[in-house]
């Protein structure tokens, strides 16, 4: 019997779940997230292992989803000193490297860069001869200034990465085994965004190592002697520790993705809308073929423009702790203020003075909470049936509107409801929601994040430009697919299980039909 344990570190709670090799849930526990993160992880692990009484030697994999990297960027803390080399002279000089980063973030990573001659045109021709001397000089300056990690970004490297690789060789002669990021492995077309993403990837090198060391330590402490460590990435799939060390930036945004994939998994729904109702916010996303639908807009991380693909999410300020304002002669107002998880102190049902959405569900008799301190009577005594009903209608309306925003057709869609605040949409309403074919609230819905982290798949993605003068369209698509598969394998997928799940073709405007941009994604079972 092989088992897997998944740990998800959220803003409020750290969850741990154990799945067996049939993907049955053997154990699930939740503790408060601690400031140092690691203590909470160890506590959650201990709790779930002890309560489920499993044989610890049967756990072959420990998967971690964490906000370490996102927090570091957002807080501008623990970021490494980055040196960025842009290969693109005589072009690109008009906008200096890192220029589009928020000034405090730029300072936090050292604002150290150089521009050297080289780079390629859209069809792979050289713009200029690559300047080896200037690159070596830049590396020497970086070393003397204490740069810890080097990012290399060349114009049109997603088409032709030759100069990036040559620069890598030269820089390692000067800087030894300092971590390096080649931009074509991180992002696609869009120089500034790809530069930013590469620089941030370098900046996370210490944070990633610390986080990984922490995970490995907690696995050791918990005597999980057979467990390999994995980290979750942006699309909800997993990556090996080596891959995570190289590409720590891929852990950003894995939180919401994990919860969506967990929700899909719990309900076997590969296509539908996922609604995650928290204490203060509700996040709505769409699952397509088992993966979160990706957003089309440029993604900002900590204020920095990058060209990452992130889940398409709608956030609504209405959660389980959201305040309800009953108004005489007017429709009630819902939120945006919320008592969050202080609900057990501030909410009417718990003896507080703030009317919350949870109070409404309790007061109308739609839900019960097993807590001696909680009494629905407190709500019923203070508010009329009419006022509570009006509030419930409004809450349901908000829910229906937010689902409607994510739908892409007029047909009714299935909705998976997860998150601790789901109580505010009563079961009695499920059958009559506008535009919604059914609502599924799976068992273990409050552990959707950790479960999502434990679904053992690894993925790879490629987004490149292919020259149709040199190959046919079919050959270009085949190349893209192969590159995606290779990436999935290096992330940790079992080669015999890898499949291409998505391809997208984008002709490039204003260029004579010879250049085409192809994006491909491949997924496989994680090789444990």
């Amino acid at each position: 019997m092989t088992l897997r344990v998944g740990i998800d570190v959220g803003g409020t709670h750290t969850d741990a779940v154990i799945l067996d090799n049939q993907n049955r849930i053997i154990g699930a526990e939740k503790v408060d997230t601690t400031e140092d993160v690691s203590t909470g992880i160890s506590d959650a692990l201990d709790l779930v292992l002890n309560r489920s009484s499993v044989d610890r030697r049967e756990i072959t994999a420990a998967m971690f989803g964490t906000t370490h990297c996102t927090n570091a960027i957002v807080e501008r803390k623990r970021l490494a000193h980055v040196g960025l080399i842009r290969i693109g002279k005589p072009a690109t000089v008009g906008i200096p490297p890192l220029h589009s980063l928020p000034p405090d973030l730029r300072r936090a990573i050292g604002d150290t860069w150089a521009i050297v001659a080289g780079g390629h045109e859209f069809d792979g021709r050289e713009i200029w001869q690559f300047d080896e001397g200037a690159t070596t000089e830049a590396a020497e300056r970086f070393r003397s200034e204490g740069v810890e990690a080097v990012a290399i970004c060349s114009v049109f490297s997603p088409v032709n990465a030759t100069h990036e690789r040559r620069a890598e060789a030269l820089v390692s002669e000067v800087m030894g085994d300092a971590p390096m990021t080649l931009s074509h492995e991180i992002g696609s077309i869009g120089l500034l965004e790809r530069e930013n993403a590469s620089a941030l990837n370098c900046a996370l090198v210490d944070v990633a190592n610390t986080a990984i060391a922490g995970f490995q330590e907690s696995v050791k402490k918990a005597s999980l002697t057979s467990a390999k460590v994995f980290l979750t990435q942006n699309d909800g799939t997993l990556m090996s520790v080596d891959y995570a060390r190289k590409y720590p930036i891929r852990t950003i945004a894995s939180g919401p993705t994990n919860s969506m994939r967990g929700a899909a998994f719990l309900t076997s729904l590969n296509d539908g809308i996922i609604v995650d109702i928290g204490g203060t916010t509700t996040l709505v996303g769409a699952i397509v073929h088992g993966f979160p639908r990706e957003s089309g807009v440029a993604v900002e991380i900590g204020g920095a423009r990058t060209n990452f693909r992130m889940p398409d999410l709608v956030a609504v300020s209405c959660g389980g702790g959201t305040q309800v304002e009953v108004r005489e002669g007017e429709p009630p107002r819902i939120g945006p203020q919320s008592v969050g998880f202080k609900i057990t102190k501030d909410s009417y049902a718990w003896g507080g003075r703030t009317l919350t959405t949870t109070d409404i569900a309790l007061g109308l008799g739609y839900a019960e909470i097993d807590d001696p301190n909680c009494s629905a009577d407190r709500v019923k005594d203070a508010f009329s049936q009419a006022a509570m009903s009006a509030a419930m209608e409004r809450i349901v309306g908000i829910f229906e509107d937010s689902v409607d925003k994510m739908k892409t057709s007029a047909d009714p869609v299935p909705v998976v409801l997860v998150g601790g605040g789901g109580i505010i949409i009563p079961g009695d309403y499920y059958a009559r929601l506008r535009g919604i074919s059914k609502v599924v609230r799976p068992d273990h819905f409050q552990y959707a994040n950790a479960i999502g982290a434990t679904i053992s798949q690894a993925s790879g993605e490629v987004d490149g430009i292919y020259d149709l003068d040199k190959m046919t369209r079919e050959e270009a698509v085949a190349k893209a697919k192969e590159a995606a598969i290779t990436d999935a394998v290096s992330a940790g997928a079992d080669p015999s299980t890898v499949e291409v799940v998505e391809t997208e073709e984008l002709p490039l405007s204003y260029l004579p039909g010879t250049a085409i941009r192809i994006r491909a994604k491949a997924v496989g079972k994680l090789l444990i």
Binding site: G88, K89, P90, A91, T92, V93, G94, I95, H99, S100, G119, E121, F122, R125, I127, W128, V155, F156, I189, G190, L191, L192, A286, R293, S295, G296, V297, D312, D404, K405, M406, K407, T408, S409, A410, E505, L506, P507, L508, S509, Y510, L511, P512, G513, I516, R517
Partner: protein
């Protein structure tokens, strides 16, 4: 008035709406313009009437693929190089800079150039929107020659073109642009102040700033700017919906495509198709044409009111589509032959958007 950092941000937002999905994302152009005014000071904006009748006016612009522009960013000297090369050819110096296309990133290039060479910029352009080809300008309709024209790239190459007509200019310049790597900075349509006054589309820079300011103000207040945009552009809301299908294909060097949408709110049971080729060209709602080029069809994000370029359209985008009347200069039979839907290959006769079904 002075055009500085604040005005540049406003122009970028407004020009994106006027770009009707094309003209490229103004972001890079905006950074270049901001850099230029930071170094050289704000630009003086004047009305076309204020230009000396005999004075030389030159429009600078970028031509080529927006995709290349976001990757092979200019070095900032190319457009001044082209301007100087044209001045040398004409053996005259310019007294003013004029925008040629106030839709998309070409709203920013003239600001950057004017700042660097210390000349005023006129509050006008030659389109009132974005168009893909060099002869699609009010300058051309008034018989002004696009050449002599200068083209420059980041390597320092400079070309001077002199052609027999403006359609040849587009053909030859387009080929040179591809060889230069897909993007060239140009100085084109040299003209006198007198010619500018007769041929230009007036007030377009101010309009783009007004739209931009309306968007900023609404966003600050957490409100939707769509109503203000509609008022400023005298538009009609054509549709509110979600993108359910996107088809793109390349033919003859220009990407063509269509976006299909399912309706939201009051458009619930309706569907809309927008045909585009870099710019949005025809909008068809439930089988009937509700707007077509040269009128402006802009696709804006439903929540933020920000314009979405055709390259950025994605499955699932929640949008509002507005149709705005084009400048009068585009509504003559001669102009419609050059920029009407039939020129772009659609079997549709142009009807002004204000007259089409509501």
């Amino acid at each position: 008035m002075k055009v500085g950092a604040a005005e540049i941000e406003e122009v970028a937002l407004g020009a994106a709406v006027l770009g009707t999905g094309g003209g490229g994302d103004p972001f890079i152009g905006k950074l270049l313009a901001l850099d230029a005014v930071a170094k050289y000071g704000p630009v003086e904006m004047i009305q076309p009437e204020e230009v000396d009748d005999e004075g030389l006016v030159i429009p600078p612009a970028l031509m080529g693929a927006p995709t290349v522009m976001v990757e092979k960013i200019p070095n900032g000297d190319e457009s001044v190089g082209a301007l100087r090369a044209l001045e040398n050819k004409l053996e005259r110096k310019a007294v003013a800079i004029t925008p040629i296309e106030q839709g998309g990133l070409n709203s920013q290039i003239p600001i950057a150039v004017a700042a660097k060479v210390g000349l005023p910029m006129t509050d006008c352009d030659s389109m009132g929107r974005a168009f893909p080809e060099l002869q699609m300008t009010s300058f051309h309709l008034h018989g002004i020659s696009a050449t002599p024209m200068a083209m420059g790239d980041e390597k320092g190459n400079l070309l001077i073109l002199e052609t027999i007509d403006n359609v040849w200019t587009e053909r030859l310049a387009r080929t040179a642009t591809v060889q230069m790597g897909g993007v060239a900075l140009i100085a084109i349509y040299p003209m006198t102040g007198a010619q500018l006054k007769k041929a230009c589309v007036k007030g377009s820079v101010t309009l783009s700033m007004d739209i931009g300011r309306a968007i900023q103000s609404a966003r600050r207040k957490g409100e939707n700017p769509i109503d203000d945009v509609v008022r400023l552009m005298k538009s009609k809301i054509l549709f509110r919906g979600k993108i359910t299908d996107l088809l793109r294909r390349t033919t003859g060097g220009f990407s063509r495509g269509e976006g299909k949408m399912q309706g939201l709110d009051e458009y619930k049971d309706q569907s809309l198709v927008v045909e585009f080729q870099n710019e949005n060209l025809v909008a068809v709602r439930d089988g009937k044409v509700v707007a077509s080029v040269p009128d402006l069809i802009s696709i804006l994000d439903l929540e933020s009111g920000l314009a979405i370029t055709t390259e950025s359209l994605r499955y699932g985008n929640r949008v509002v589509v507005i149709g705005s009347p084009c400048n009068e200069v585009w509504r003559t039979p001669q102009a419609l032959a050059a920029v009407g839907p039939r020129y772009f290959g659609y079997d549709v006769d142009y009807v002004p958007v204000e007259k089409l079904g509501s």
